[in-house]
Symmetry: D4
Subunit: 154 residues, 8 copies
Amino acid sequence: MAMEIDQIDLKILKMVQENARISLNQISEKLKIPKSTIAYRLKKMEQSGLIRGYHAQIDFSKLDIDYVVISLIKAKYGPNYHDDLGSKLAKLPQVWGVYYLLGEWDFVVMAKFRNREKFMAEFLEKVMSIPEVERSNTQIVAKVIKEDPYEVKF
Amino acid sequence: MAMEIDQIDLKILKMVQENARISLNQISEKLKIPKSTIAYRLKKMEQSGLIRGYHAQIDFSKLDIDYVVISLIKAKYGPNYHDDLGSKLAKLPQVWGVYYLLGEWDFVVMAKFRNREKFMAEFLEKVMSIPEVERSNTQIVAKVIKEDPYEVKF
Amino acid sequence: MAMEIDQIDLKILKMVQENARISLNQISEKLKIPKSTIAYRLKKMEQSGLIRGYHAQIDFSKLDIDYVVISLIKAKYGPNYHDDLGSKLAKLPQVWGVYYLLGEWDFVVMAKFRNREKFMAEFLEKVMSIPEVERSNTQIVAKVIKEDPYEVKF
Amino acid sequence: MAMEIDQIDLKILKMVQENARISLNQISEKLKIPKSTIAYRLKKMEQSGLIRGYHAQIDFSKLDIDYVVISLIKAKYGPNYHDDLGSKLAKLPQVWGVYYLLGEWDFVVMAKFRNREKFMAEFLEKVMSIPEVERSNTQIVAKVIKEDPYEVKF
Amino acid sequence: MAMEIDQIDLKILKMVQENARISLNQISEKLKIPKSTIAYRLKKMEQSGLIRGYHAQIDFSKLDIDYVVISLIKAKYGPNYHDDLGSKLAKLPQVWGVYYLLGEWDFVVMAKFRNREKFMAEFLEKVMSIPEVERSNTQIVAKVIKEDPYEVKF
Amino acid sequence: MAMEIDQIDLKILKMVQENARISLNQISEKLKIPKSTIAYRLKKMEQSGLIRGYHAQIDFSKLDIDYVVISLIKAKYGPNYHDDLGSKLAKLPQVWGVYYLLGEWDFVVMAKFRNREKFMAEFLEKVMSIPEVERSNTQIVAKVIKEDPYEVKF
Amino acid sequence: MAMEIDQIDLKILKMVQENARISLNQISEKLKIPKSTIAYRLKKMEQSGLIRGYHAQIDFSKLDIDYVVISLIKAKYGPNYHDDLGSKLAKLPQVWGVYYLLGEWDFVVMAKFRNREKFMAEFLEKVMSIPEVERSNTQIVAKVIKEDPYEVKF
Amino acid sequence: MAMEIDQIDLKILKMVQENARISLNQISEKLKIPKSTIAYRLKKMEQSGLIRGYHAQIDFSKLDIDYVVISLIKAKYGPNYHDDLGSKLAKLPQVWGVYYLLGEWDFVVMAKFRNREKFMAEFLEKVMSIPEVERSNTQIVAKVIKEDPYEVKF
């Protein structure tokens, strides 16, 4: 369910989405709205969970973390198996995305590792030991053409 | 290839990764390093492309953008078809992730839309008209369990 | 096995198939047959099970019931598993069609829900807890192009 | 988008959904509402398209129409191919359901025929000659366990 | 459509199905029916096509013809493509069975060859040059556990 | 391993393969070889198992046995499971062919039934209760284009 | 077809299979056969093609060539397409194995590269430009557990 | 991790890769380096494991070992199952290659046998009795177009 937000909130949101290090002064000047109002509205959007944080976007390949995988997971069937498995997958190291699907595969897991050895020790062996997992299928990403989650428009 | 960065760079990087709105003062205090050094090092990391930007992380479901899809794309075969198709997919509206794979499917595309009608008009119909596309297969995400690309450790 | 029905029965049947609210008078006039005969023959077709009822055809999307799914179910193998599973699936809420197949999937289930949350709580979680189910694969219908089960000709 | 309907409309709707041959008198008595109001409201629901018709539900197997198929259709890719193909499939004889999907297959087609010969001549050969069709895959239904589209609750 | 045959025809048929070299005398004695009647009835069943011939059942592996294959064929789509392809497949050397299916594959072809080289030269290369063929998938039979088409009961 | 047979044996074999009701006189005349030699050689080929029998080839569709299926069976894994399962499948009623494969499916089973009900009661329910079966997938044959096992050349 | 070789040839063959740098003296001593005979027999086996060469077995991962792939290739259908494609694949750099199959995929290609970039430039882009290729599917080997082609016993 | 080797090592390595029976004299002459240096460097490369041996490359089809298979193995999931299974597969007779993958199948196994009977007794029955195996899928190689693992360049 969407919270109530107005056009001014949306304008502020777009500014911090585009550049999280923008200062209150800069926003205030652009929107002709007092700094205290900006601060208050940002706080409100943070408290409601609409803004979940502010983060530097890092090019991990420049840190030699370029073993990028997309792993498909099939769960065994049983009461609460899927909820339990979803939580366990989300807690694995270097896993940044877990999506629950309804089709041939139950979960898509996105993760990044320094190399194959790290991937196998930190991820694959752990996945294979989770009892709710029936099967995994991991695709190595040959090239990350785009990864800009902040670019979604609203 | 990784650029040369030292332990202090990494510490600064982790701080802005965790909270992009942290002030130079705060970093300076924590690391006992002058503000000007912090500023200089951040600038260097930005210029090298290691830091690609600073962004608010938004819970799009709170903005009623909760038609989340993972679309698999198969390309036709021909010289440069894959490069061309990758670029075209990355330019489609609301597409925030495009991954090039080597297996059964050629591309995984991540995108978010306000509803099914938007998805069909803005994405699916366009995909179907790209001549390099042989076939697409779109999975509707039932639940985003985790989506924190900023959480990858280094 | 087909019951014995004649050309007049078929004519009456077609009329009520096309418009279930047609009156005995109207049928009587069109066919030049006494009302009592029409009534008797309709009763006979109802009793034999040839006519299973008369129903308004509703456009459920106008009632905001537009999360339409086609779910494929694979059963575990064992004595009577398929019969038992077929019955259980037919009793799930909002399920209006259950078809038993012989190929890769054992059952095709047709159902309609108000939204994804209802679908997951009322259908998916229940399916996952049925012990005879080995696996399900649910497709979200993007568009109901035609759904007129009453239009089959005879 | 849902039209505006109130609790009384819904009650009337449920009655004609359950039994389309119910008389205005019967509805009037049960709901303690004048017949003219019932008639007016039914008319309004018919005109808005919420009620699409009233039909006898026929057990087609009793008319020896028991070659029931579920056919999956894959379309070729091109501008408007899917819209064109959807319309063509909906017009084929004995086809009562056409659903547009987003995954491995593009259309699910439901149809009923008197026997295999009719199916092949009236359906399969025609499907194979539609230029937008890339491939079809037809499953013969071994048993219709449930087919009660009027049973969807609201 | 079945021809009209009586219990005596069926008894004779079973005898020649079991042993095609049985003499008219032997049948006559067992059934207590004159030889001429037997001869007449056999002739009638041959003329109607119910009896298509009498053949020795050979164990081809004893003739070193033990490269047994089951080949799945997918046809391209177009008017009459399937009929044309079915005929062409039936005429290939050493092909003794061609079955037309409605699912993922269009034809199942049964054939036997002296060895892999013969299979590739006499069958595979020819299949690959038939323009209506989209794809073939050949399975080598590891063991013929049973092959007694004459054993079907009636 | 092939038994030792000469050109004359092969000539006789071809004659009885083509027409199992040919008399010894006819063979003798054509080959200019005494009847007793023919009889002796036939006996030898029967005893060695090269000739497994002589049978009328029946057009079962003319006996209303036209529910023709090709069933794919996947076995569970365990010691001797495949041998046991192969034997069990070969003993099911109306099953005339059982082939053991090495790929995605373990067995291809060919069978013919009077109708769907017979198929489900006599075959499918039995297959589902065999403990070594992991999964079956049955294709209904739309048309038997060719079924002439005696036509294999040698 | 096998050439004629005797037990002494086989003994010599096994020795050079196990250690290709064994001297004629060593073989001569072990087998109590004159050096000239050994030399003569080796020459004969080389000329017949039975011995195709003598090679050091290298651990390529120690040379940083550890991007090991198994690539599946599907060919388009047409006269000689498969032969042509097989030859083209065998000539690609770093490809050491090409196997022609009869099932879902036409070719299995084994190759080793220094890294992903080399793989994509030297192999994948070339494969995608071969007109006879319909589709490729490349699996990255996570671990070479065994690769000892010389260990096949005879 | 690569050991330290220089250009001279690489030149020597290429010579023994191409012809393992080349004498120290021949290498010495070509490279203008003393024999003792060659011997010392070869020894060092052998001890480090870079050179794993020297072997005659045999054309096994000339020894009638031409039942060549590529077998795909799926493992059950559990702690250490994959490591255990990999070792067991590598020890099976006539298996010369075992590759661990991350996708649909877990292992690719390369092996060669004298004939189908040997394959079934020595390999398939053993694979089916390994408890960690969930499923195997064996492809018979129709033609080995290239198999020169020694040809990989460095």
